[in-house]
Amino acid sequence: MKRSCDYTLGQTTFLVTLRTLIGWHFLYEGLAKLANPDWSSAAYLLDSKGVMSGFFHSLTYKPSLLHTVDFLNKWGLVLIGLGLILGLFTRISVFSGIVLLALYYLSHPPFPGLVFSVPAEGSYMIVNKTLIELSALLVLYVFPTRIGLDALLAPLFKKKSQR
């Protein structure tokens, strides 16, 4: 409990900065997909390789399932993005972000021998930016800050639960 109080100003500032930047990234990824009426995850999923590829391919088999996956992905990105920027439902946002990034990482793992349709913009071996972003969220998970709307909402929840 004391721990967050013990953060120096610099620690708090950069933890919040990190959270905001990752939120920004999520939010724009989501909005860019929402803005494109033709966007679909189908091609990305079909391009999946590695041990989990069977699962990712199977998501494209039924149009209805694919629609659900697309919907969850787009709105998931937007809501997680907003959550991280605003510090709203931070814990669940950070956790969902980790799950989503883990799925992205596992669908296109940068392992030796796997080649994907879209070439990476840099050079990666096992570790890529998705994994690093995921790790950054893990850091935020274990070093939470009290900067954000959660702090405003908390009393309301607390009061309700006391009654």
């Binding site: 033709d38 189908a42 900067i147 702090a151």
Partner: protein, 560 residues
């Protein structure tokens, strides 16, 4: 420990309130205000985000609008005739049930029961395999097959079983016994219970069977190439027109959405003056080089060899020649007739350029030195001086490096396949200003069309381009992939019922046949062949047919 930490931000604020009721003084309120400010600290970030988002969207939209205004292309899919099947049931016959025959019958809605079983099993094993589902959902064209004709008994038997499988059932169902096998196509054409025929016999049989059908008033769907020899091209055109039948040549590319969009793009002058078109064949496997499997039970006993030979030069019974006839000039026109004709018809559909004035070419047998006489690597050049344009066909059966179809003009070029991409040329006059302004980037398509996609946009991301190029995009979205051969047969049946012209009619067929044969004669004779548009014949042809007759031609009765 982490759990506790997580509750921290909320918990602490709470504590203040609970313990400090009495202390709710000025300082308490200050604390609260500080907490509120802290909790809202990142909200302004959203404002910056919104500003950035607005700017970016506006930039994208301005660029799109500039290109749209310049390009002026419709982004909606082309209007394709897809009227529901109406009119009375048509009674069909099929001649030839080797490889293409079964494919055509499947496209018409008829599949052998054993194959239905196979597709069903494959679909059960692999949910991604949609062939069974697609076949079962394929529109019923309201036709029956009353007769089949094949010179190989086993294929004829399979054709009968396929034709009888009206309800698209597996081997567990009992088939009706109403399909007749004809030993000769002449007998089939004379039958009263057949209105129209599909011809999928070897190339040297296309013309004789079409002419016989026309003379009996049967409508014809004939596989490409339309004819095997030059004289036949005239004879087929004459007989088809005289009989007034609906004739469809088997270039199913006519029903391809991207080709229709390509025509629109050319008409809107996106490419400027087109000067060079390159079409190609890039295959690299025995099957692609016509080294087809030989049926293990085939023998002189169950093959009517004499009828197979027909007007071709006599050769003793040879299973290779029977199953792999495309490898010999004696029965085919090689790469040109099998594959160039599709490419030609695609371009003819887009540019309507018809027969070229000149043809030249050459070829050789470089890889498949298996006794064949047709070339496995060849190039043909077709010149259209009145349009200042050349069509180049370059083909190999021993490399699968994909080169596609490219139409090149002064202002832009077009890459055409199942998808369509138009690029501005970096030296273009028309797009000069837009390129200088950075509104148009020469390496990003100014127009692209991906079939099945609702709103193809000028600007697509690099990611999308990659997927589209690999045919990965939108394959399963919206569900339906359509078989173009099915649409082509449907178009023919509609033409019969409504007495209209099919999409690849006899005039387009004549252009295909003459162009193909000009190229073949040029290659084999090693000379530049010229077409006389007024006389509708090859200039100075006399020495050519005589020489060809020595090798593979016998005059047929209905030349005239």
């Amino acid at each position: 420990m982490e759990e506790k930490d997580q509750k921290n931000p909320a918990g602490e604020g709470q504590e203040n309130k609970e313990t400090g009721k009495e202390k709710e003084t000025l300082s308490g309120k200050q604390m609260k205000r500080r907490d509120i400010l802290k909790s809202l600290a990142t909200v302004p970030v959203l404002g910056v985000f919104a500003w950035g988002y607005y700017k970016k969207r506006r930039y994208d939209q301005i660029i799109k609008k500039v290109i749209r205004d310049e390009v002026g292309m419709e982004y909606a899919p082309p209007v394709m005739s897809s009227t529901p099947v109406s009119g009375k049931q048509l009674r069909l016959g099929i001649v030839g049930f080797g490889i293409r025959g079964p494919q055509l019958m499947e496209a018409a809605g008829f599949l052998h029961p054993a194959k239905v079983d196979k597709l069903r099993e494959a679909a059960e094993k692999n949910p991604r395999d949609k062939r069974y589902q697609e076949f079962m959902k394929q529109e019923d064209l309201n036709i029956v097959f009353n007769g089949v004709c094949d010179v190989f008994d086993i294929h004829a038997q399979e054709a009968m079983e396929t034709a009888a499988n009206v309800k698209r059932q597996g081997t567990d169902a009992k088939l009706p016994d109403n399909v007749k096998r004809y030993r000769t196509y002449q007998e089939m054409m004379a039958a009263d219970d057949i209105d129209a025929v599909i011809i999928a016999a070897p190339d040297h049989w296309h013309a004789p069977i079409t002419i016989e059908a026309a003379r009996h008033g049967k409508h014809v769907y004939c596989e490409k190439p339309m004819t095997w020899t030059l004289p036949e091209a005239y004879a087929v055109r004459r007989e088809v027109k005289k009989a007034g039948i609906a004739f469809q040549l088997g270039h199913q590319g006519r029903e391809t959405e991207s080709y229709i969009k390509a025509k629109e793009a050319v008409e809107k002058n996106l490419l400027g003056k087109i000067n060079l078109i390159e079409v190609t064949t890039n295959r690299n496997d025995p099957n692609g080089a016509w080294v087809y499997p030989i049926h293990p039970k085939a023998s002189p006993k169950n093959i009517d060899w004499k009828q197979f030979i027909g007007q071709a030069p006599w050769h003793d019974f040879d299973l290779k020649r029977f199953f792999r006839w495309r490898c010999w000039w004696d029965y085919s026109t090689g790469l040109s007739g099998d594959l160039f004709t599709h490419e030609f018809d695609a371009i003819n559909q887009i540019l309507e350029m018809g027969i070229p004035q000149y043809a030249s070419g050459s070829g050789g047998i470089y890889y498949f030195q298996d006794g064949r006489t047709v070339y496995d690597v060849q190039q043909e050049i077709f010149e259209y001086p009145d349009r200042d344009m050349t069509l180049l066909y370059s083909a190999t059966l021993a490399s699968s490096k994909n080169r596609g179809k490219v139409l090149m003009g002064h202002d832009g070029y077009m890459e055409l396949g199942s998808t369509l991409n138009v690029y501005a040329d970096r030296r273009s006059d028309r797009y000069k200003k837009l390129i200088e302004n950075g509104d148009i980037k020469p390496d990003v398509p100014i127009y692209s069309y991906v079939p099945g996609r609702k709103n193809p946009d000028a600007i697509t991301t690099a990611t999308e381009q990659y997927f589209a190029g690999r045919g990965l995009l939108y394959t399963y979205r919206g569900g339906k992939r359509v078989n173009t051969t099915h649409l082509h047969i449907k178009n023919w049946l509609e033409a019969i019922r409504k007495k209209t012209q099919p999409s690849c009619n006899i005039d387009r067929g004549f252009e295909e046949a003459i162009t193909n044969l000009m190229g073949v004669i040029a290659m084999r004779e090693g000379k530049r062949v010229e077409w006389d548009y007024d006389k509708e014949q090859i200039v100075d042809l006399k020495p050519i047919p005589e020489k060809l007759q020595e090798t593979n031609l016998k005059p047929i009765e209905y030349l005239g």
